[in-house]
Structure formats: structure tokens, C-alpha cells
Subunit: 411 residues, 2 copies
């Protein structure tokens, strides 16, 4: 079964928002063992939308559409489906009543605009939208299937997992399993990783191998196709072992994020954590607290952006600061000071020059220190790119050095 | 001139990374007044890539490709162009020498793999990549133009703005100007905004109107086409005035982010700012410090994740905390305490229950307080969605309430 995805919205073509739905839908299809060969983005234009739907129906077994089913006048997905398939548009009192009930349950009056959401191509079934006003639709046509969902990610996701993926799996009659294993490596560039794995790559059939780079982390993805999860896993296992041995820098797999590995190590040692941030301005704390259950480990953070905050809140002494705000002694003093202030066992501290103007050191100089109950060490790094890139890479580096410290590997 | 964009990478189809390049390229094309009607994503598969390139060449005047030109074995964009156009693959000693020079300039030896990047479809011109090892390519074929760039966003962007967009503008012979104005509104839902603007929307021709929702902010985009920037702006101005009057909730336009408006207000009053965060864990501080020049205004932040940090670092008294950690008195005490600790004139404080497990109050209850030299007020909000969504919406709300406080509008 081959499923094509079409995202609809001129704002996507104009780049005014980043399309996260394509990734969300792609991941859900892959996990369900459903093939997807093409994703298409078109604007709020009836001709081009209808042409994309027509081609998608011709080239695939099922179509997933997102966007363009809201209550506003530029929402033309319903019309696009009719134009591509020749189906009539129908107005359903039942759909209107369900929309009214949605608003009534929230003690609000339904705006007149929203009645247009009771229109749908003949034969479509309504998909409930608990999180928003736009219902989705599920349509069997030409022996194939079209699903239309809202473009708002939170609303789309709920429908995707609650209705669309189960319907596709049922339609496929229990598909082959596509199973991916992502090995996460840090500390080695992409081309070096590829070179070390070149012969495995050349021989690949099942599993296949691909490389992904993101903010300093290199991921090696192995994807196997089989009739059961167990068979797929058995195909992946020996290749995974070889990759781990060759690289020596694989720190986790799949959802084993660096944050989760840090928390597991903290759990094992009964430690808590905090951060002391200058250049990253709270990004490391935000990353750690993004993980559910963070409150078991994270005490807090001091973002010491102004030099006086480094001195007065973190207790970094004037002499150390005078010798260099962006320096290893300052980073270590920030980490040690924050351990006291926050009552945390482990603190990672980041100071540096993120640009656009140099602050004491060249733009891209980032100093990271980690202090634990056992030791405190720092490292100076040189990051390429602009402010956003430097802050993002510095956040990754801070988390990775924290991992090495809390697992006792250090550097 | 109509430019099609094709992004290449199985990792995109499988949803293992989010495709930000489509948005970046879309924005750059729109700003240059170049039309784009379709974006396509295909995997690392030679047949399907070559088919997409073939169709893109047939349907558009120029093609922008990203991804698949790296040094690894799954990088097949060069082959895809040859397959689609019938051009021969050439190996260029000159390209190889330029790649070697890139590595030599960084005192590193070029890995053997990277020599494959000296291969290119016959007639292609190399585009320099100062940020990475993969050169781009620029090819005139069939009276049209194909540009291939790396998939790594930072490398792609530099080539896009440095080479591709200028080449396309030259090719188009000075195109019509497509000018967008984005009006940013906060405090009113998307369907209400659409209802208030319904008659303007119905009458739209030039400028066109579209609505975008992102993390609580609703954007109204007006896009005008004309032969000069001045003409386009004159078309937009009266519609913009009408939208601002109807809604009454427009706080900024285009790049006037809420962060920038806050900084401008702080500048006018000679104030500095800090944050005291629990549920958002540093996200508000990270957002403020993302703006270049933040160090002129931001003193720092205390992320008080553990209750004891609220008490010991921020000085929130036991009685207040006992009456409710997620409460307006606690939020105001956090903000007031952080003003002292950080030496900041203004502090925004956030406490709440982000889930997945409730913390004292229902998941989604977020309390935000802002303290300034003049006043301190709090507001309790109820946010729908999961942990990530709640934290993101809470960050937006915190910034918006801060804006109202520092501009003296309050609530």
C-alpha cells in the first residue's frame, strides 16, 4: 500500500510557516509499515489543488490531505476533492448539528462561518475533531481512499493516530512491517561516519542504511522490511552491532535522547541537576524540562546573562571574571556556584560569544563546564555559523558533555 | 517565472527530520517576487527522483533541488539529474581540486568519499559551499535551469541567497514584485478573526488575504503583486488599515515580533528584564535571548523548577507556597523576588501544570505574572493540549502579557 501526502496552504509555499505535518505523517506511516513515495505541497488554488489530488489518486492507493478545511474562505480542500473526483458537494444537517454540539459543549455560540464545514463531497464520512472546530473527512472513491484533516498540527495528529492510520492498516489487510532503528552518534562528522561504514553501505539490501545530521548529532538509520516485527529486528541486530563497533561514538538509539540518558544516569546515582547559562540563555534548561518527569531530576537554572548576575547570584569572583567572562575558570565557577544556589548535585554551565557582535572572544567561542559531586571540568569549543546555529549547537554540546560527566566517562 | 522546489531524502518521507528548507526557500522566492506553485518531497530512490525532476522541468521554468548531494552513498541527486535529462555524468579535476583546497584550508585531509562530489551532470557549474563539503550545482538545460543544493539548512541558505535567488532574478529579467505584509494579532481565535474580516476577504483580488495560526498568535497575511515595491505597498496600505481597525488586536507586523516590541518598550523606558520560570523551564528566557542585542535588556532568569528553589532563591514565602504553588500570589511573589535577585526592572513569572501528570492544578493551568517598577499583576490561563503544546502556548502568552505590561496597557 502506497500512501501519498498532500499539504495545502499558500502560507506553506510562501514559507510563512514550517511544515511539521509532513514529518508527523511520514513517521506515522513508516511505523505502521505503510509505504510513502511522495509528499506534495500546493497553495490555496483550486486548479492546482485539484490537479495534485488527481495525480495523487492516479499514482497511489490512498491520499492524506492536510490543511484547507477550516472555517475561513480560503479553505478550499472540500472543493478541490469535488473538482478532482467529479463528486457533488453536499450539505449535511447532521454534520451541522455535530458542529453546533461541539460549540455548545464549550458554552460558545458557533460563528456563522463555521456552517461551511458541514459541506463535504458526497459520500464522505465525518472524522471528529476533539481539539478544534474543523471536522476531518474520510472518503472512499474510485476504489481508493481520501482522508482530509486540518492543518493545525495538534488537531491533525489526534485524527491521524485516532482514525487515519487505523483505517489504512485495516485497508492494507495487515501490511508488511517497516522497522527503523536510529543509532545516535556524537563527536564525529557525517563524512567520517560514512567512510567508516562504506562497505556496509555498499552491501545494503535489507536493512537499508541512511545518514542524518542534526545540530552536531549524526544519526545512522537502519530500516528493515519483514512480515513481523521480530523478523525485522533480527535483520537489524547484526548490522547495528557492526555500526556500534566501527564508530565507537554511538551513545543511544531511537528515542534514547541525550536528555533521557542523562536522567537515567542521574536516577542511578541519586543526583539532581541544574544549569547556569549565559550564551544559551535558558535553552539547556528548556531542553531538560521538555522531558516528562523532569521534575524528578531538575532543580532549576540560573540564566546569568548580565555579568553582575554571574557575580551576585552565582558568586563568581571579580578576579575570575576579570580574567575572562568567556573562559574555562569562569564556566567552572558558574557551575560550582549554581550547585550551591540551586542545591543541585550536577550543574552544566555555558558561557560564550554567540554573536552577531563578538563578546570578548571571537563569535562562536563557547565554553562549557560540568560540575558534579566528584569533579568539575571545562572544555572550549569553536562553533561555526550564526547566532541561532551557535546557540543550538552549544545546547547539544552542553547536553553531550553533561552525559559524559554523569556517566563518569568525562573527557 | 514559476519555480518548483524538490526536496530529496528518505529521512524526510519517514519523518525523521522536519523539513525547514521548504519554508526557507519559499520565503526567499516570495520576497524576490518569484512564483512557486508546488513543492515536492521524494526519497533516495533514483526512479522516483528522476520522475519528479522530469515533471518539475515540464511544469516550471526553474527547479530548485535540496538534499542528496553529500559525500555518502545514498546521495543520488547528481544521478537523478542525469537520468531525467539524459545528460552524461562527468568527473572534473577542477572540481576535485577545489574540494581538496576546501579541506586543506581547514588543515584536514579530504576523505576518499568526498571525491564523488567532483562528479556532476555535463555542463553544470559548481556553486561554492563555504560552510560544508558538498558543492552545489547550477545547470542550464532545455532552456530552463536546475539548481542543486545541500540539504543541511545552514549550507543551503548561504547558497540560496548568495547564488540561486540572484541567478533567478537575473533570469526573470526583473520580475514583478510580490510583497507580503503579515499583521500579527493575539487574543482572538482564527474563526473570529475570519468572521470580522469576511467582507474584505470576499472582495479580495490584489492584495490577497490569508490567515495563519501559530501557538496562539493569529496572522493575517496580505500579499500584493505590482511592478514596483511602492505600488505593492500602496495596494496593501488601505486594507491593512481596515484590518487593524476591525480587529483591534493587531500588535505588530512582519518581523515586529513580540520580543522585539518588548525590547523597544524597554529601551524607551530605560528598563531591563528577567524571567522566573517553572512550567516553561527557561523557554521564555531562551526566546528573549534569541534576539540579537538581547544583552542590552536581559539581566537573566531563575528557572525555579523545584519548590525549594522558588523559596530559597526567589524568596517566595512558605505561606504563599502552601496556599498554592500554581497560584496568582505565588506567580507574583516569584516575579517580585526575581526582580530583586536579578536586579531587573521587569520580570515575567510562569508557574503551572504542564503535564503529563497534574501538578496541584489540572494539566494546562498556567499562571503568569508580570512585575514592573509600577505594578504587578497576574492572570490564570487554561491551555489545551499536551506538555509540548502547553509549554509553547504558555511561552507565547508570557511574552504577550509582558508586552502589555511594558507598554503600560496591562489587562
Amino acid at each position: 500500500m502506497n500512501v501519498e501526502v498532500i499539504a495545502i496552504g499558500t502560507e506553506l509555499l510562501l514559507g510563512q510557516i514550517i511544515n511539521t505535518n509532513l514529518a508527523t505523517i511520514g513517521r506515522a506511516l513508516a511505523e505502521a509499515g505503510l509505504d510513502t513515495y511522495r509528499q506534495v505541497v500546493v497553495g490555496d488554488n483550486l486548479d492546482r489543488l485539484s490537479q495534485a489530488i488527481r495525480q495523487g489518486l492516479d499514482d497511489s492507493d490512498a491520499l492524506i490531505l492536510t490543511g484547507g478545511i477550516g472555517p475561513t474562505q480560503d479553505d478550499i480542500t472540500r472543493e478541490g476533492i469535488c473538482a478532482a473526483t467529479g463528486l457533488e458537494m453536499e450539505y449535511s444537517e447532521d454534520w451541522a448539528a455535530r458542529l453546533e454540539a461541539w460549540w455548545a459543549a464549550r458554552n460558545r455560540e458557533m460563528p456563522a462561518n463555521n456552517y461551511q464545514q458541514a459541506q463535504h463531497p458526497a459520500g464522505a464520512v465525518l472524522i471528529d475533531n476533539p481539539r478544534g472546530t474543523a471536522p476531518g473527512l474520510d472518503l472512499a472513491v474510485e476504489g481508493k481512499r481520501i482522508f482530509a484533516m486540518p492543518g493545525v498540527p495538534a488537531e491533525m495528529e489526534l485524527m491521524l493516530h485516532g482514525h487515519v492510520i487505523p483505517a489504512l492498516i485495516e485497508l492494507g489487510g495487515g501490511p508488511a512491517v517497516l522497522r527503523s532503528r536510529v543509532l545516535r552518534s556524537y563527536g564525529m562528522g557525517e563524512s567520517k561516519v560514512a567512510e567508516l561504514l562504506a562497505d556496509i553501505f555498499e552491501r545494503q539490501t535489507n536493512p537499508t542504511m541512511a545518514f542524518l545530521a542534526s545540530a552536531g548529532e549524526i544519526k545512522v538509520r537502519l530500516t528493515a522490511k519483514a512480515s513481523t516485527i521480530e523478523e525485522a529486528d533480527a535483520l537489524i541486530a547484526p548490522v547495528e552491532a557492526a555500526v556500534r563497533e566501527r564508530l565507537g561514538t554511538v551513545f543511544g538509539a531511537d528515542d534514547e535522547t541525550v536528555e533521557q540518558i542523562i536522567f537515567d544516569a542521574l536516577q542511578a546515582r541519586g543526583w539532581t541537576i541544574g544549569t547556569a547559562e549565559s550564551a544559551t540563555g535558558g535553552m539547556v534548561a528548556a531542553a531538560l524540562t521538555a522531558i516528562p518527569g523532569a521534575s524528578n531530576y531538575v532543580r532549576g537554572s540560573v540564566v546569568a546573562y548580565a555579568t553582575e548576575v554571574k557575580e551576585q547570584v552565582l558568586g563568581v569572583d571579580t578576579e575570575t571574571l576579570g580574567a575572562g567572562v568567556v573562559s574555562e575558570p569562569t564556566a567552572i565557577a558558574m557551575a560550582s556556584g549554581a550547585r550551591e544556589v540551586l542545591g543541585a548535585d550536577v550543574v552544566v554551565a555555558i558561557t560564550g560569544s554567540a554573536g552577531p557582535d563578538p563578546q570578548e572572544r571571537d563569535v562562536g567561542t563557547i565554553v562549557i563546564a560540568v560540575a558534579t559531586p566528584e569533579d568539575a571540568r571545562a572544555r572550549t569549543l569553536d562553533m561555526p555559523g550564526d547566532r541561532e546555529r551557535i546557540r543550538t549547537y552549544a545546547t547539544t554540546a552542553a547536553l553531550q558533555l553533561t552525559r559524559l560527566a554523569v556517566t563518569g566517562e568525562w573527557w
